[in-house]
Subunit: 340 residues, 2 copies
């Protein structure tokens, strides 16, 4: 069976191509009779209008681009990104949009940048981190196509964004530790020069403060979100601050590294040391011991970002465009009162 086009359908239904188009797009001004004739043909031949031609005519592709940094394999492999993408994908497809996932790296040739961000093929863009946001915003500074980002960036106040309440999450984590009686609590953070880190650090600080514990800057390290950084930083803490009895890690991956460092030194968790993570990744449930962590709605962040983007694409003017989702403390087995 030949693949047919709108003209052939029109012929078969004894109408003009415009009528077919109207029927397919639910436009008014088409007689009930014509509609049924057209639909009969459409169903019989399972006709689907060619979406490329439609894109050319309407100047919109119904495709959303998702952009993230070409991070290392280790960071990529932690489940956070897949879950975020899944949230985006499912919301988009539900609303009839395709989604194209691209990894971006400043070191790739310019042609690839242009290819990835090819505006003819994209109706909107979701940026998953700051580096990429900067790049996309700069390229689309004339607002030709809408951009939304996951995570807030104070440099781009006019851009819609979704994030978890980082302050609140960190606060809850550290408060849990102080409530347990810990007084010397390390903090491992993941990303320099980013509001997220600033907020998490403030949450950490406030929780300490509210428990009457003074903040010690040496107990705080900003690295990156890899397991390796968690491992390294934990070793550093253990070498220099024997009084420390607990650590707040700003990601589950960081916590995973910290747990390994503790294990290698034979320091039992949670009996002799407590650790709390951030993210609530699926794998955190199977760490040893199962990680107490701050669960954030990763999937939900993605879905919400997609929802915002599609609203923007439809031309709706969003007033409340910086959305914060609330994280929850998820208690498992990696925390206990301090030893002694």
């Amino acid at each position: 069976m030949e693949r047919l086009n709108i003209d052939k359908v029109a012929k078969l239904a004894h109408v003009s191509r415009s009528v077919v188009s109207r029927v397919l797009n639910n436009h008014p001004n088409v007689s009930e009779e014509a509609r049924t004739r057209v639909m009969a043909v459409v169903n019989e031949y399972n006709f689907k209008p060619n979406s490329v031609a439609r894109s050319l005519a309407t100047q919109s592709t119904f495709q959303v681009g998702v952009l993230t940094s070409r991070i290392g394999e280790e960071s990529l492999g932690n489940g956070y990104w897949s879950l975020l993408y899944l949230g985006i994908f499912e919301e988009c497809i539900r609303q009839g949009y395709y989604v194209r996932l691209s990894f971006f790296s400043t070191s790739m040739p310019k042609e690839l940048h242009d290819l990835i961000l090819n505006e003819d093929h994209l109706d909107g863009i979701i940026c998953l981190n700051e580096e990429v946001t900067e790049f996309a915003v700069q390229k689309f500074d004339d607002h030709r196509i809408p951009v939304v980002m996951v995570g807030h960036n104070p440099n781009y106040p006019e851009i819609c964004s979704v994030d978890v309440d980082n302050y609140s999450g960190a606060y809850k984590a550290v408060k849990h530790l102080t409530d347990l009686g810990h007084k010397y609590i390390g903090g491992i953070f993941g990303d320099q020069n980013v509001e997220e880190t600033e907020n998490r650090k403030n949450g950490y600080r406030s929780a300490l403060n509210d428990s009457g514990i003074s903040f010690n800057n040496q107990f705080t390290v900003i690295a990156d979100y890899s397991q390796h950084s968690g491992y390294q930083t934990m070793n550093h803490f253990l070498d220099h601050f024997p009084e420390m009895t607990a650590v707040f890690c700003a990601s589950d991956t960081l916590a995973m590294g910290a747990l390994l460092a503790l294990y290698e030194r034979g320091i039992e968790v949670p009996a002799r040391f407590s650790v709390v993570g951030f993210d609530g990744l699926p794998i955190s449930k199977y760490m040893i011991p199962p990680l107490t962590t701050i669960e954030q709605p990763v999937y939900g962040k993605g879905a919400k970002a997609a929802e915002l983007l599609i609203s923007c694409m439809r031309g709706e003017d969003l007033k409340k465009n910086q959305i914060n989702l609330e994280p929850q403390l998820l208690i498992r087995k990696s925390c206990a009162p301090p030893y002694n």
Copy 2:
């Protein structure tokens, strides 16, 4: 600055639109002089031809679809899928193809299936697992667009596929255990009714055999590739076969679950029990203890699949279309000779 099209470029360069098209597509038969004039304009205005229009004219979109099952969040989060996708993406983009990643579920409405697999928008498809392959192959049984899959499926011998040598991987893993002196070795596998499992099981069996150990069917369980299954199955083994001293897990996630079960019972790894995984995921390095595993080139599988697909799309006739990549034993800290 207005966005320009090929006609405007032609006007500015004082040539016809066909000349512009020819220089943009590196076609022959264009004078050096015309070429430089065109390129001058192209560069000055940074002109990029509209790819949607090009798609319509050439009947090809330069887009590749990647299809995978809408698996649970836990399975999604293990890093395997992200890595595989990264391999596909980077090879595609290098060759100038976009890639669209979609999750497929048999339970979603038919409109979504049609949307996801919309052939007008796709020049080729890479299937990441069997369920999805079946669906795609059935939809494109007339070979309108090429399909390649990751993992071999004997039901579709004519389709190009890439996989790791599952037999060899399992063999190496279990041989490592028998070489260490283990005699009672469990096997946890991940996917019923799939050639992959068959092959891994055969590898496990052969290694046992080559070491003069008889195969015990009770020591073998086929579940799914989740941490939870590893956890559950390990508990089952521990409850029923106290003589068992080691286990081969057909994925790192399975091993992660097994490790947790062992930990909860206070059975030290590797002192009292050895475990080896399969995959070599980035997270396996940070398990407790760091996992000895069979490292397969996940990224490479993706890249190779993309390479095959693009060859097919270019019309090359591939003879050697079932490719096997060789996995390696990666020794870390989860194995030791049996206790006593």
